[in-house]
């Protein structure tokens, strides 16, 4: 069934979009990720204008993270104070992101920046995760217990000023890295149309040493509000949020996520991370190929002013 999208101004097959939302939702439920980094490229490859894809996925991420936030809230697995400070940084980063997005769009370099960022971040994160998960699987097979976190273990981040105590996370760190981290993820999320959970979670664990049981809920909490802000900023700035496309993706997404979450419970953590790492690397590689191979068509057009701009 074809459905005309009011903002994207093209008709799409609603079942294809619904299926995409469902498939990405399944993976996000399986791995506990937002899935934005998969959904945005899928939409772009299927012919939705990049600007609309990026802006609309931010809305979809709001839906997928809000259902998870409710669950973590009930389990009291969210550090509100940490989440709120991350959020302040996130909104700031998101605002800068929207401005840069418009600048890049007007000079015609948005697509290449999106592609390059995907290659860089997905390549780096995917590589790290792959390395880490293989090591974990080997360690499990050889039966060596992983090294527990030593109390009082510090890195350079703990030497920064403006320290604040986060009770639920049992942390006493400076707000500078917290705001900075929030800002970077908010910025990238707005530019790339991703929630950034797959970057936020390792950063919180390895840089700030937030306990693992608090990390996912807090990260989702911050993503929920950052992406909500990004949706509003995109609506006001680029005016490319397509509410019909977003609704179709959301409904597919939340349903798929439930099935994914159930299946995820039957897999081991390190196996899941290995699979996720391969997935992340594959998406990164897909972008790299596009950047490096000689394009089929050297020319492209973009409407600047007048009808349909």
């Amino acid at each position: 069934m074809q459905l005309y999208l009011p903002i994207a101004e093209i008709p799409v097959n609603i079942f294809v979009i619904f299926g995409m939302g469902g498939a990405v939702g399944f993976l996000s439920g399986l791995f506990g990720i937002g899935g934005g980094f998969l959904l945005t490229p899928l939409l772009i490859f299927s012919g939705i204008p990049p600007a609309v894809s990026v802006a609309t996925v931010t809305t979809q991420v709001v839906a997928s993270s809000s259902s998870a936030v409710v669950t973590y809230w009930r389990r009291k697995a969210i550090d509100l104070k940490l989440g709120t400070i991350l959020l302040c940084g996130g909104v700031l980063g998101s605002l800068i992101g929207v401005i840069l997005f418009q600048v890049l769009q007007s000079v015609g370099q948005l697509d290449v920046v999106i592609s390059l960022s995907y290659v860089t971040f997905l390549g780096a994160i995917g590589g790290l995760m792959l390395f880490e998960s293989i090591r974990a699987i080997r360690r499990r097979k050889s039966g060596v217990a992983p090294k527990a976190r030593k109390p009082g273990q510090h890195n350079w981040i703990h030497g920064l000023p403006l320290k604040v105590r986060f009770r639920r996370s049992k942390l006493y760190v400076s707000v500078i890295p917290v705001v900075g981290l929030g800002a970077i993820i908010g910025f990238l999320g707005t530019i790339l149309g991703i929630g950034g959970g797959f970057m936020m979670v390792p950063a919180l664990i390895y840089l700030l040493r937030v306990p693992t049981n608090i990390v996912i809920g807090t990260s989702l909490f911050q993503i929920l509000f950052t992406m909500a802000a990004a949706t509003v900023f995109h609506s006001m700035g680029t005016k490319t949020v397509d509410i019909v496309l977003a609704m179709t993706l959301m409904i597919g997404g939340v349903i798929g996520a439930q099935f994914g979450a159930r299946m995820g419970q039957n897999l081991r953590g390190d196996q899941l991370r290995l699979l996720l790492a391969l997935l992340v690397l594959a998406v990164g590689l897909r972008f790299a190929v596009d950047l490096l191979l000689t394009p089929d068509d050297f020319y492209s057009i973009a409407i600047r002013k007048g009808a349909g701009a």
Partner: protein, 260 residues
């Protein structure tokens, strides 16, 4: 409005007709199957039928010296940037850009014979009949070498043709009788909204002896229009609405699929 145009075109016919030999004045009357295309959520493209009558012509089929017709459908103007990729540090990025200003967002031409045989270049250029003859003005600032300008122009037209937004259908106007004709113009799903112009030209030996112009409106209607208007006029409200819908959907899913 259409009556005025008809009247004007009749006056025009009379004057130009009088110059072109001493035949009776030619009259050209055209009519559209619909003068409003409304885009709703099930819109997947459509077509318009243009009917017309050219009276007082003695047209012989395939007669090179006879009367010929061309119909141009033009969408609202746009500024469009055409970019060319080049290698930069091993990566393919957009390098040169050419901005075409006030070019039609949609352009379709239908004719009775090959456009190049209809009239000489100057006439076709003046009237903008044929993809090789539309006026594609470029902006003053551009980093495209003069020798490459034509490549950009060709690429622009080619890409627009690929999108179905520019088309040329030679010999697609058919005569139903000696004087009555019709043609179909396809309007693809991705047509921009706005006011379109439908211009019809009657040629005799390469000169325009009569012409008409009508308007065709393409507009979103119903839900599509409400949504688009809201996104444009009340962006803050639209954004907040999108967020509330998303949170509600997520919350609802959480409630429906609640396990614990």
């Amino acid at each position: 409005m259409s009556r005025l145009i008809l009247l004007l075109s009749m006056v025009l016919c009379l004057t130009t007709g009088a110059q072109a030999q001493n035949r009776p004045a030619q009259e050209l009357v055209t009519s559209l199957s619909s003068d409003l295309i409304s885009i709703q959520s099930n819109f997947t493209g459509t077509e318009i039928v243009i009917f017309g009558q050219a009276s007082n012509i003695e047209r012989q089929p395939n007669d090179p010296s006879g009367y010929e017709l061309a119909i141009v459908v033009e969408g609202p103007p746009q500024d469009i940037t055409t970019r060319r990729k080049g290698r930069f540090l091993g990566v393919w990025v957009n390098r040169e850009a050419e901005r075409f200003q006030n070019v039609p967002s949609y352009y379709a031409v239908a004719s009775t014979i090959n456009i190049s045989n209809m009239a000489n270049r100057t006439v076709l250029d003046d009237l903008g009949i044929g993809l090789n003859h539309i006026n594609l003005a470029v902006s003053g600032v551009s980093n495209v070498a003069l020798s490459d300008r034509d490549d950009f122009r060709r690429a622009f037209v080619r890409l627009r043709k690929q999108m179905g937004l520019y088309s040329e259908q030679e010999t697609s106007i058919t005569f139903l009788t000696d004087t009555m004709f019709r043609t179909n113009i396809p309007l693809p799903a991705n047509i921009p909204v706005g006011d379109y112009k439908v211009k019809s030209f009657l040629f005799l030996h390469g000169d325009v002896v009569a012409q008409t112009e009508q308007t065709l409106a393409v507009a979103k209607s119903g839900f599509e229009q409400v949504t688009f208007e809201m996104a444009q006029s009340y962006p803050l409200f639209y954004g907040l609405l999108a967020v509330s819908l998303a949170i509600f959907t997520g919350w609802l899913a959480g409630v429906i699929f609640r396990k614990d």
